[in-house]
Protein backbone atom coordinates (compact mmCIF):
# COMPACT_ATOMS: atom_id res chain seq x y z
CA UNK A 1 0.00 0.00 0.00
CA UNK A 2 1.30 3.47 -0.92
CA UNK A 3 0.97 6.57 1.19
CA UNK A 4 -2.18 8.70 1.29
CA UNK A 5 -2.05 12.48 1.25
CA UNK A 6 -4.16 15.52 1.92
CA UNK A 7 -4.18 17.54 -1.32
CA UNK A 8 -6.78 20.18 -0.55
CA UNK A 9 -8.37 21.97 2.41
CA UNK A 10 -11.26 24.41 2.60
CA UNK A 11 -12.90 26.13 5.54
CA UNK A 12 -15.59 28.68 6.22
CA UNK A 13 -15.10 31.07 9.09
CA UNK A 14 -16.34 29.69 12.41
CA UNK A 15 -18.84 31.95 14.09
CA UNK A 16 -21.80 32.23 16.35
CA UNK A 17 -24.95 30.61 14.94
CA UNK A 18 -26.60 34.04 14.58
CA UNK A 19 -23.77 35.22 12.33
CA UNK A 20 -24.17 32.12 10.17
CA UNK A 21 -27.88 32.51 9.46
CA UNK A 22 -27.10 33.60 5.89
CA UNK A 23 -26.44 29.97 4.97
CA UNK A 24 -28.20 26.70 5.72
CA UNK A 25 -25.82 24.10 7.17
CA UNK A 26 -25.44 22.26 3.87
CA UNK A 27 -24.65 25.57 2.12
CA UNK A 28 -21.78 26.09 4.56
CA UNK A 29 -20.57 22.62 3.61
CA UNK A 30 -20.83 23.47 -0.09
CA UNK A 31 -18.74 26.59 0.57
CA UNK A 32 -15.94 24.70 2.36
CA UNK A 33 -16.03 21.80 -0.13
CA UNK A 34 -15.86 24.09 -3.16
CA UNK A 35 -12.86 25.80 -1.53
CA UNK A 36 -11.18 22.45 -0.83
CA UNK A 37 -11.62 21.34 -4.45
CA UNK A 38 -10.32 24.68 -5.71
CA UNK A 39 -7.39 24.38 -3.33
CA UNK A 40 -6.63 20.93 -4.78
CA UNK A 41 -7.26 22.11 -8.33
CA UNK A 42 -9.82 19.36 -8.79
CA UNK A 43 -13.38 19.06 -9.98
CA UNK A 44 -16.16 16.91 -8.55
CA UNK A 45 -15.73 14.26 -11.25
CA UNK A 46 -12.24 13.43 -10.00
CA UNK A 47 -13.50 12.39 -6.54
CA UNK A 48 -14.73 8.84 -5.97
CA UNK A 49 -15.39 8.61 -2.21
CA UNK A 50 -17.24 11.03 0.07
CA UNK A 51 -17.35 10.82 3.87
CA UNK A 52 -19.08 13.31 6.16
CA UNK A 53 -19.03 13.83 9.91
CA UNK A 54 -22.48 14.95 11.03
CA UNK A 55 -24.63 14.58 14.08
CA UNK A 56 -28.37 14.30 13.52
CA UNK A 57 -29.56 15.95 16.72
CA UNK A 58 -27.31 18.96 16.21
CA UNK A 59 -28.65 19.37 12.67
CA UNK A 60 -32.25 18.75 13.78
CA UNK A 61 -32.73 16.33 10.89
CA UNK A 62 -32.40 12.57 11.10
CA UNK A 63 -29.80 11.13 8.73
CA UNK A 64 -28.72 14.72 8.18
CA UNK A 65 -26.25 13.61 5.50
CA UNK A 66 -29.17 13.24 3.10
CA UNK A 67 -28.76 17.00 2.62
CA UNK A 68 -25.01 16.95 3.01
CA UNK A 69 -24.30 14.39 0.33
CA UNK A 70 -24.67 16.76 -2.62
CA UNK A 71 -23.08 19.67 -0.72
CA UNK A 72 -20.07 17.40 -0.09
CA UNK A 73 -19.71 16.76 -3.84
CA UNK A 74 -21.29 13.35 -3.35
CA UNK A 75 -24.03 13.45 -5.98
CA UNK A 76 -24.46 9.84 -7.23
CA UNK A 77 -21.18 8.85 -5.58
CA UNK A 78 -20.26 6.34 -2.90
CA UNK A 79 -21.10 8.53 0.09
CA UNK A 80 -21.04 7.58 3.75
CA UNK A 81 -21.17 9.32 7.10
CA UNK A 82 -19.91 9.01 10.66
CA UNK A 83 -21.66 10.53 13.66
CA UNK A 84 -18.42 11.49 15.37
CA UNK A 85 -15.73 14.11 15.23
CA UNK A 86 -14.37 14.94 11.76
CA UNK A 87 -11.05 13.22 12.50
CA UNK A 88 -12.99 9.94 12.49
CA UNK A 89 -14.42 10.78 9.06
CA UNK A 90 -10.85 11.39 7.91
CA UNK A 91 -9.78 8.02 9.32
CA UNK A 92 -12.70 6.35 7.53
CA UNK A 93 -11.87 8.03 4.20
CA UNK A 94 -8.22 7.06 4.70
CA UNK A 95 -9.23 3.40 5.09
CA UNK A 96 -11.47 3.54 2.03
CA UNK A 97 -8.50 4.65 -0.07
CA UNK A 98 -6.14 2.22 1.68
CA UNK A 99 -8.54 -0.61 0.75
CA UNK A 100 -7.74 0.00 -2.90
CA UNK A 101 -11.39 0.54 -3.79
CA UNK A 102 -11.04 4.33 -4.04
CA UNK A 103 -8.30 6.69 -5.24
CA UNK A 104 -9.60 10.02 -3.94
CA UNK A 105 -11.96 11.11 -1.19
CA UNK A 106 -13.64 14.21 0.12
CA UNK A 107 -14.10 14.51 3.87
CA UNK A 108 -16.47 17.12 5.24
CA UNK A 109 -17.61 18.13 8.70
CA UNK A 110 -19.65 21.03 9.99
CA UNK A 111 -20.78 22.58 13.21
CA UNK A 112 -24.43 23.50 13.43
CA UNK A 113 -25.68 25.28 16.56
CA UNK A 114 -29.31 25.77 15.57
CA UNK A 115 -30.14 23.62 18.60
CA UNK A 116 -28.77 23.63 22.18
CA UNK A 117 -25.67 21.42 22.16
CA UNK A 118 -25.74 20.93 25.95
CA UNK A 119 -29.31 19.59 25.98
CA UNK A 120 -28.64 17.49 22.89
CA UNK A 121 -25.65 15.93 24.63
CA UNK A 122 -28.00 14.87 27.45
CA UNK A 123 -29.73 12.59 24.94
CA UNK A 124 -26.43 10.81 24.33
CA UNK A 125 -26.81 9.31 27.80
CA UNK A 126 -28.81 6.24 28.71
CA UNK A 127 -32.32 7.04 29.98
CA UNK A 128 -32.12 4.91 33.16
CA UNK A 129 -28.86 5.66 34.93
CA UNK A 130 -27.59 8.98 33.53
CA UNK A 131 -30.00 11.10 31.51
CA UNK A 132 -32.46 11.78 34.39
CA UNK A 133 -29.82 13.83 36.22
CA UNK A 134 -29.58 16.36 33.42
CA UNK A 135 -25.98 15.37 32.74
CA UNK A 136 -24.37 16.97 29.68
CA UNK A 137 -21.00 16.91 27.98
CA UNK A 138 -20.00 19.96 30.01
CA UNK A 139 -20.79 18.41 33.39
CA UNK A 140 -19.02 15.15 32.51
CA UNK A 141 -15.94 17.04 31.32
CA UNK A 142 -16.10 19.02 34.56
CA UNK A 143 -16.19 15.80 36.59
CA UNK A 144 -13.14 14.62 34.68
CA UNK A 145 -11.36 17.92 35.37
CA UNK A 146 -12.16 17.55 39.09
CA UNK A 147 -10.68 14.07 39.08
CA UNK A 148 -7.51 15.28 37.36
CA UNK A 149 -6.97 18.38 39.50
CA UNK A 150 -7.63 16.47 42.72
CA UNK A 151 -5.06 13.84 41.81
CA UNK A 152 -2.30 16.24 40.79
CA UNK A 153 -3.15 19.47 42.63
CA UNK A 154 -3.24 21.55 39.44
CA UNK A 155 -3.37 25.29 40.05
CA UNK A 156 -6.30 27.29 38.72
CA UNK A 157 -3.80 29.79 37.32
CA UNK A 158 -2.20 27.08 35.19
CA UNK A 159 -5.54 26.20 33.60
CA UNK A 160 -6.18 29.89 33.00
CA UNK A 161 -2.79 30.12 31.28
CA UNK A 162 -3.96 27.54 28.69
CA UNK A 163 -6.84 29.86 27.85
CA UNK A 164 -4.57 32.90 27.63
CA UNK A 165 -2.19 30.99 25.32
CA UNK A 166 -4.87 29.62 22.99
CA UNK A 167 -6.83 32.87 22.82
CA UNK A 168 -3.62 34.70 21.94
CA UNK A 169 -3.04 32.21 19.11
CA UNK A 170 -6.63 32.60 17.92
CA UNK A 171 -6.07 36.31 17.28
CA UNK A 172 -3.89 35.34 14.30
CA UNK A 173 -6.29 32.77 12.87
CA UNK A 174 -8.73 34.35 10.39
CA UNK A 175 -11.07 31.33 10.72
CA UNK A 176 -11.33 31.46 14.54
CA UNK A 177 -14.63 32.24 16.24
CA UNK A 178 -13.08 34.07 19.20
CA UNK A 179 -10.34 36.39 17.98
CA UNK A 180 -9.63 38.43 21.09
CA UNK A 181 -6.90 38.14 23.70
CA UNK A 182 -7.77 37.55 27.33
CA UNK A 183 -5.71 38.13 30.46
CA UNK A 184 -5.17 35.70 33.31
CA UNK A 185 -7.47 37.75 35.52
CA UNK A 186 -10.27 37.64 32.91
CA UNK A 187 -10.21 33.85 33.00
CA UNK A 188 -10.00 33.58 36.77
CA UNK A 189 -12.83 36.06 37.22
CA UNK A 190 -15.08 34.59 34.53
CA UNK A 191 -18.17 32.99 35.97
CA UNK A 192 -18.14 29.46 37.34
CA UNK A 193 -20.15 27.35 34.89
CA UNK A 194 -19.60 23.86 36.26
CA UNK A 195 -16.95 23.56 38.94
CA UNK A 196 -14.01 23.59 38.28
CA UNK A 197 -14.74 24.95 34.80
CA UNK A 198 -15.16 28.68 34.26
CA UNK A 199 -16.82 30.31 31.30
CA UNK A 200 -13.56 31.07 29.46
CA UNK A 201 -12.19 27.57 30.08
CA UNK A 202 -14.95 26.00 27.96
CA UNK A 203 -15.06 26.16 24.14
CA UNK A 204 -17.63 28.42 22.46
CA UNK A 205 -20.50 27.01 20.39
CA UNK A 206 -19.49 27.65 16.78
CA UNK A 207 -21.07 27.10 13.39
CA UNK A 208 -19.05 26.57 10.22
CA UNK A 209 -17.69 23.89 7.92
CA UNK A 210 -14.42 22.27 6.95
CA UNK A 211 -13.58 20.03 3.97
CA UNK A 212 -10.48 18.03 3.09
CA UNK A 213 -9.49 16.24 -0.12
CA UNK A 214 -7.45 13.01 0.08
CA UNK A 215 -5.67 11.12 -2.67
CA UNK A 216 -3.52 8.02 -3.02
CA UNK A 217 0.22 8.54 -3.51
CA UNK A 218 0.58 8.66 -7.30
CA UNK A 219 -2.39 10.93 -7.85
CA UNK A 220 -1.42 13.11 -4.88
CA UNK A 221 1.98 13.79 -6.43
CA UNK A 222 0.32 14.64 -9.72
CA UNK A 223 -2.26 16.96 -8.09
CA UNK A 224 0.09 19.02 -5.94
CA UNK A 225 3.70 19.89 -5.14
CA UNK A 226 2.85 20.03 -1.46
CA UNK A 227 1.04 16.81 -0.52
CA UNK A 228 0.68 16.41 3.23
CA UNK A 229 1.04 12.74 4.07
CA UNK A 230 -1.08 10.89 6.59
CA UNK A 231 1.60 8.71 8.15
CA UNK A 232 -0.23 7.57 11.24
CA UNK A 233 -3.86 7.25 12.26
CA UNK A 234 -5.57 5.44 15.10
CA UNK A 235 -8.47 5.82 17.47
CA UNK A 236 -9.89 4.31 20.64
CA UNK A 237 -13.20 4.38 22.48
CA UNK A 238 -13.67 4.09 26.24
CA UNK A 239 -16.71 2.91 28.20
CA UNK A 240 -19.45 5.49 28.62
CA UNK A 241 -19.94 4.47 32.27
CA UNK A 242 -18.02 7.42 33.61
CA UNK A 243 -17.70 5.92 37.11
CA UNK A 244 -16.02 2.87 35.59
CA UNK A 245 -12.92 4.48 34.17
CA UNK A 246 -9.92 6.39 35.48
CA UNK A 247 -11.14 9.93 34.91
CA UNK A 248 -7.79 11.43 35.83
CA UNK A 249 -6.34 10.36 32.49
CA UNK A 250 -7.61 10.09 28.93
CA UNK A 251 -6.84 6.42 28.35
CA UNK A 252 -8.24 6.13 24.81
CA UNK A 253 -6.08 9.08 23.66
CA UNK A 254 -3.07 7.29 25.12
CA UNK A 255 -3.87 4.08 23.27
CA UNK A 256 -4.64 5.84 19.97
CA UNK A 257 -1.40 7.84 20.20
CA UNK A 258 0.68 4.74 20.83
CA UNK A 259 -0.74 3.05 17.74
CA UNK A 260 -0.54 6.11 15.48
CA UNK A 261 3.04 6.82 16.61
CA UNK A 262 4.09 3.24 15.89
CA UNK A 263 2.63 3.54 12.40
CA UNK A 264 4.41 6.87 11.79
CA UNK A 265 7.66 5.81 13.51
CA UNK A 266 7.41 8.49 16.17
CA UNK A 267 9.31 7.53 19.32
CA UNK A 268 9.89 10.92 20.93
CA UNK A 269 6.75 12.98 20.30
CA UNK A 270 7.86 16.01 22.36
CA UNK A 271 10.91 16.35 20.07
CA UNK A 272 9.69 15.01 16.73
CA UNK A 273 6.56 17.11 16.28
CA UNK A 274 6.91 20.72 15.13
CA UNK A 275 3.39 21.50 16.31
CA UNK A 276 0.26 19.87 17.68
CA UNK A 277 -3.43 20.63 17.23
CA UNK A 278 -5.31 18.89 20.02
CA UNK A 279 -8.85 18.79 21.40
CA UNK A 280 -8.70 21.34 24.22
CA UNK A 281 -12.32 20.64 25.20
CA UNK A 282 -11.55 22.35 28.48
CA UNK A 283 -8.39 24.08 29.70
CA UNK A 284 -7.74 21.11 32.00
CA UNK A 285 -8.11 18.64 29.15
CA UNK A 286 -5.21 20.28 27.36
CA UNK A 287 -3.00 19.14 30.28
CA UNK A 288 -4.51 15.68 30.31
CA UNK A 289 -3.90 15.39 26.59
CA UNK A 290 -0.24 16.47 26.84
CA UNK A 291 0.16 13.47 29.12
CA UNK A 292 -1.94 11.03 27.10
CA UNK A 293 -0.18 12.03 23.88
CA UNK A 294 3.21 11.39 25.47
CA UNK A 295 4.43 14.99 25.47
CA UNK A 296 5.24 14.79 29.20
CA UNK A 297 4.86 12.47 32.16
CA UNK A 298 1.72 11.96 34.26
CA UNK A 299 0.73 15.03 36.24
CA UNK A 300 3.29 17.20 34.43
CA UNK A 301 0.86 18.82 31.99
CA UNK A 302 0.70 22.23 33.66
CA UNK A 303 4.49 22.51 33.55
CA UNK A 304 4.45 22.59 29.74
CA UNK A 305 2.22 25.65 29.76
CA UNK A 306 3.85 27.37 32.72
CA UNK A 307 7.31 26.92 31.13
CA UNK A 308 6.11 28.15 27.75
CA UNK A 309 7.02 24.82 26.08
CA UNK A 310 3.71 24.75 24.19
CA UNK A 311 3.40 28.47 23.41
CA UNK A 312 3.98 29.80 19.88
CA UNK A 313 7.59 30.62 20.72
CA UNK A 314 8.11 27.38 22.65
CA UNK A 315 9.64 24.11 21.50
CA UNK A 316 6.32 22.52 20.59
CA UNK A 317 3.53 25.02 19.89
CA UNK A 318 0.19 23.42 20.78
CA UNK A 319 -2.95 24.73 19.12
CA UNK A 320 -1.48 27.50 16.97
CA UNK A 321 -5.01 27.86 15.54
CA UNK A 322 -6.30 28.73 19.00
CA UNK A 323 -7.85 25.27 19.34
CA UNK A 324 -11.38 24.45 20.41
CA UNK A 325 -11.22 27.26 22.98
CA UNK A 326 -11.31 29.69 20.03
CA UNK A 327 -13.56 27.73 17.63
CA UNK A 328 -15.67 24.71 18.40
CA UNK A 329 -17.81 23.78 15.41
CA UNK A 330 -18.19 20.20 16.71
CA UNK A 331 -18.18 17.72 14.94
CA UNK A 332 -15.92 19.76 12.65
CA UNK A 333 -13.61 20.76 15.51
CA UNK A 334 -11.08 18.00 14.85
CA UNK A 335 -11.23 18.41 11.07
CA UNK A 336 -10.48 22.11 11.52
CA UNK A 337 -7.41 20.98 13.49
CA UNK A 338 -6.39 18.82 10.52
CA UNK A 339 -6.87 21.81 8.17
CA UNK A 340 -4.72 23.98 10.43
CA UNK A 341 -1.96 21.37 10.57
CA UNK A 342 -2.01 21.10 6.76
CA UNK A 343 -1.67 24.88 6.38
CA UNK A 344 1.21 24.84 8.87
CA UNK A 345 3.06 22.00 7.11
CA UNK A 346 2.65 23.69 3.74
CA UNK A 347 3.96 26.98 5.15
CA UNK A 348 0.64 28.70 4.45
CA UNK A 349 -0.29 29.61 8.04
CA UNK A 350 0.62 33.28 7.66
CA UNK A 351 0.88 35.21 10.93
CA UNK A 352 0.70 32.05 13.02
CA UNK A 353 3.22 30.03 11.02
CA UNK A 354 5.44 27.68 13.02
CA UNK A 355 8.82 27.90 11.24
CA UNK A 356 9.99 24.87 9.22
CA UNK A 357 7.16 22.62 10.33
CA UNK A 358 7.70 19.10 8.97
CA UNK A 359 5.68 16.85 11.22
CA UNK A 360 2.41 17.63 13.02
CA UNK A 361 0.28 15.86 15.58
CA UNK A 362 -3.51 16.14 15.34
CA UNK A 363 -5.93 14.89 17.97
CA UNK A 364 -9.71 14.81 17.70
CA UNK A 365 -12.15 14.09 20.48
CA UNK A 366 -15.84 13.50 21.05
CA UNK A 367 -17.19 16.71 22.52
CA UNK A 368 -20.97 16.92 22.51
CA UNK A 369 -21.39 13.24 21.60
CA UNK A 370 -19.38 11.47 24.27
CA UNK A 371 -19.14 10.95 27.99
CA UNK A 372 -16.01 12.55 29.46
CA UNK A 373 -13.61 12.41 26.49
CA UNK A 374 -14.79 8.93 25.59
CA UNK A 375 -13.68 8.83 21.97
CA UNK A 376 -10.26 9.93 20.70
CA UNK A 377 -8.51 9.92 17.33
CA UNK A 378 -4.82 10.63 16.69
CA UNK A 379 -3.35 11.53 13.30
CA UNK A 380 0.30 12.10 12.34
CA UNK A 381 0.89 14.36 9.33
CA UNK A 382 4.16 14.99 7.43
CA UNK A 383 5.03 17.27 4.59
Amino acid sequence: MGRIAIVGVGQTSYEDVEAKRDKAYYEMVFESTRRALDDAGLERGEIDSVVEAAYDLLDGRTISNMYLCTASAGYLKDESRVAEDGTFALAYAYMRIASGHFDTSIVTAHGNREGPAELISNYVFDPFFYRPFGVSYITTLAMQATSYTTKYGVKEESAARVVVKNRENGVNNPYAHLKSKVELEDVLKSRMVSYPLRELEIPPNSSGACSIVLAEENLAKRFTDTPIWIDGVSWSVDTYHIGSKDLSEITPAKIAAKRAYRMAKIDNPAKQFALAEIGDVTAYHEFMLYEALGLCGEGEGEKLVNDGFTSMSGELPVNPSGGALCANPYPATGLASVAEAVLQLRGDAEKRQVPDAETALVHGISIAAGAAAQTNCVIVLRR
Binding site: R21, D22, G60, E114, G115, P116, E118, L119, N122, P127, F128, F129, Y130, P132, F133, G134, V135, S136, I138, T139, A142, M143, Q144, A145, T146, S147, T150, R191, M192, V193, S194, Y195, P196, L197, T239, H241, I242, G243, S244, L247
Partner: protein
Protein backbone atom coordinates in the same frame (compact mmCIF):
# COMPACT_ATOMS: atom_id res chain seq x y z
CA UNK B 1 -28.28 45.72 0.87
CA UNK B 2 -27.55 47.57 4.07
CA UNK B 3 -27.94 46.78 7.72
CA UNK B 4 -28.57 43.39 9.23
CA UNK B 5 -30.50 41.01 7.05
CA UNK B 6 -33.36 38.97 8.44
CA UNK B 7 -33.86 35.40 7.30
CA UNK B 8 -37.03 33.37 7.72
CA UNK B 9 -36.61 30.85 10.51
CA UNK B 10 -38.64 27.81 11.54
CA UNK B 11 -38.90 26.88 15.22
CA UNK B 12 -38.24 23.15 15.20
CA UNK B 13 -39.11 20.94 18.13
CA UNK B 14 -39.06 17.16 18.19
CA UNK B 15 -41.68 15.48 20.29
CA UNK B 16 -41.17 11.82 19.67
CA UNK B 17 -42.38 9.33 22.28
CA UNK B 18 -40.12 6.36 22.98
CA UNK B 19 -40.80 3.41 25.24
CA UNK B 20 -37.32 2.37 26.40
CA UNK B 21 -36.91 -1.00 28.04
CA UNK B 22 -34.43 -1.42 30.88
CA UNK B 23 -34.36 -5.14 30.10
CA UNK B 24 -34.85 -8.04 32.50
CA UNK B 25 -31.41 -7.67 34.08
CA UNK B 26 -31.54 -4.00 35.14
CA UNK B 27 -35.19 -4.35 36.16
CA UNK B 28 -34.02 -6.50 39.07
CA UNK B 29 -31.87 -3.59 40.25
CA UNK B 30 -34.76 -1.13 39.99
CA UNK B 31 -37.19 -3.50 41.73
CA UNK B 32 -34.79 -3.84 44.67
CA UNK B 33 -34.49 -0.05 44.94
CA UNK B 34 -38.18 -0.02 45.92
CA UNK B 35 -37.10 -2.01 48.99
CA UNK B 36 -34.22 0.39 49.70
CA UNK B 37 -31.72 -2.23 48.61
CA UNK B 38 -28.86 -1.55 46.17
CA UNK B 39 -27.65 -4.47 44.10
CA UNK B 40 -24.44 -4.60 42.09
CA UNK B 41 -23.31 -7.39 39.80
CA UNK B 42 -20.03 -9.32 40.09
CA UNK B 43 -18.00 -10.50 37.13
CA UNK B 44 -17.00 -14.14 37.72
CA UNK B 45 -13.76 -13.63 35.81
CA UNK B 46 -12.24 -10.34 37.06
CA UNK B 47 -14.30 -10.25 40.28
CA UNK B 48 -15.14 -6.57 39.84
CA UNK B 49 -18.38 -5.54 41.48
CA UNK B 50 -20.08 -3.37 38.87
CA UNK B 51 -22.23 -0.35 39.66
CA UNK B 52 -24.42 0.41 37.80
CA UNK B 53 -24.93 -3.35 37.55
CA UNK B 54 -24.25 -4.77 34.12
CA UNK B 55 -25.29 -8.05 32.53
CA UNK B 56 -21.88 -8.41 30.90
CA UNK B 57 -18.34 -7.37 31.74
CA UNK B 58 -16.95 -4.99 29.14
CA UNK B 59 -13.36 -6.00 30.00
CA UNK B 60 -13.68 -9.80 30.21
CA UNK B 61 -16.55 -9.90 27.73
CA UNK B 62 -18.43 -12.63 29.56
CA UNK B 63 -22.01 -12.64 30.88
CA UNK B 64 -22.41 -11.47 34.46
CA UNK B 65 -25.10 -13.25 36.46
CA UNK B 66 -24.13 -12.91 40.12
CA UNK B 67 -25.85 -10.22 42.22
CA UNK B 68 -24.15 -8.62 45.24
CA UNK B 69 -25.99 -6.47 47.74
CA UNK B 70 -24.18 -3.23 48.57
CA UNK B 71 -24.63 -0.79 51.44
CA UNK B 72 -26.19 2.61 50.67
CA UNK B 73 -23.01 4.45 51.63
CA UNK B 74 -19.70 5.06 49.94
CA UNK B 75 -17.32 7.77 48.78
CA UNK B 76 -17.40 10.49 46.16
CA UNK B 77 -15.12 9.49 43.26
CA UNK B 78 -15.50 12.79 41.47
CA UNK B 79 -18.05 15.58 41.16
CA UNK B 80 -19.04 18.89 39.67
CA UNK B 81 -21.32 21.67 40.85
CA UNK B 82 -23.18 23.26 37.97
CA UNK B 83 -24.13 26.95 38.24
CA UNK B 84 -25.25 27.53 34.68
CA UNK B 85 -28.76 27.28 33.25
CA UNK B 86 -28.72 25.36 29.97
CA UNK B 87 -31.82 25.12 27.80
CA UNK B 88 -33.85 22.10 28.86
CA UNK B 89 -31.46 21.05 31.62
CA UNK B 90 -32.12 21.36 35.39
CA UNK B 91 -32.19 24.69 37.18
CA UNK B 92 -28.84 25.35 38.86
CA UNK B 93 -27.20 24.93 41.20
CA UNK B 94 -26.93 21.15 41.33
CA UNK B 95 -24.12 18.82 42.29
CA UNK B 96 -23.43 15.70 40.24
CA UNK B 97 -21.09 12.98 41.40
CA UNK B 98 -20.05 9.43 40.82
CA UNK B 99 -20.19 7.49 44.06
CA UNK B 100 -18.25 4.31 44.76
CA UNK B 101 -20.42 2.41 47.18
CA UNK B 102 -18.54 0.38 49.79
CA UNK B 103 -17.68 -2.95 48.22
CA UNK B 104 -18.15 -1.77 44.63
CA UNK B 105 -15.34 -1.33 42.13
CA UNK B 106 -17.04 1.26 39.92
CA UNK B 107 -19.08 4.39 40.57
CA UNK B 108 -22.77 5.18 40.33
CA UNK B 109 -23.80 8.60 39.10
CA UNK B 110 -26.18 10.55 41.31
CA UNK B 111 -26.92 13.94 42.79
CA UNK B 112 -25.32 15.22 45.98
CA UNK B 113 -27.92 16.88 48.20
CA UNK B 114 -28.37 18.26 51.70
CA UNK B 115 -25.62 20.82 51.05
CA UNK B 116 -26.11 24.53 50.45
CA UNK B 117 -24.62 25.08 47.01
CA UNK B 118 -25.19 28.82 46.84
CA UNK B 119 -21.64 29.50 48.00
CA UNK B 120 -19.09 27.41 46.11
CA UNK B 121 -16.33 27.53 48.69
CA UNK B 122 -18.48 26.41 51.58
CA UNK B 123 -20.03 23.70 49.40
CA UNK B 124 -16.53 22.45 48.55
CA UNK B 125 -15.86 21.87 52.24
CA UNK B 126 -18.50 19.14 52.24
CA UNK B 127 -18.40 17.96 48.64
CA UNK B 128 -14.91 16.60 48.10
CA UNK B 129 -13.31 13.68 46.30
CA UNK B 130 -13.16 10.91 48.89
CA UNK B 131 -15.90 12.40 51.11
CA UNK B 132 -18.23 9.80 52.60
CA UNK B 133 -21.87 9.95 51.53
CA UNK B 134 -25.06 8.05 52.25
CA UNK B 135 -28.22 7.61 50.18
CA UNK B 136 -31.30 9.61 51.14
CA UNK B 137 -34.29 7.55 50.02
CA UNK B 138 -37.52 8.82 48.53
CA UNK B 139 -40.66 8.09 50.53
CA UNK B 140 -42.45 7.01 47.42
CA UNK B 141 -40.37 4.51 45.46
CA UNK B 142 -41.36 3.44 41.97
CA UNK B 143 -38.38 1.48 40.76
CA UNK B 144 -36.38 4.30 39.23
CA UNK B 145 -32.98 5.86 39.90
CA UNK B 146 -34.84 8.60 41.80
CA UNK B 147 -35.93 6.07 44.44
CA UNK B 148 -32.70 7.45 45.86
CA UNK B 149 -33.35 11.19 46.18
CA UNK B 150 -29.67 12.02 46.40
CA UNK B 151 -26.55 11.16 48.35
CA UNK B 152 -25.72 13.28 51.37
CA UNK B 153 -22.28 13.85 52.90
CA UNK B 154 -21.97 12.16 56.34
Amino acid sequence: MSGKEEYPVVFGKWEIPYIHSAGRFSTQFFNMLKEKRIMGSRCSKCNRVLMPPRSFCEKCFVPVTEWVELPDSGVIQTFTICYEKFTGLPDPPYALATIRLDGADTGLMHLIGGVDLSDLNSALEKIRVGARVRAVWSDERKGSIFDIKYFEPI
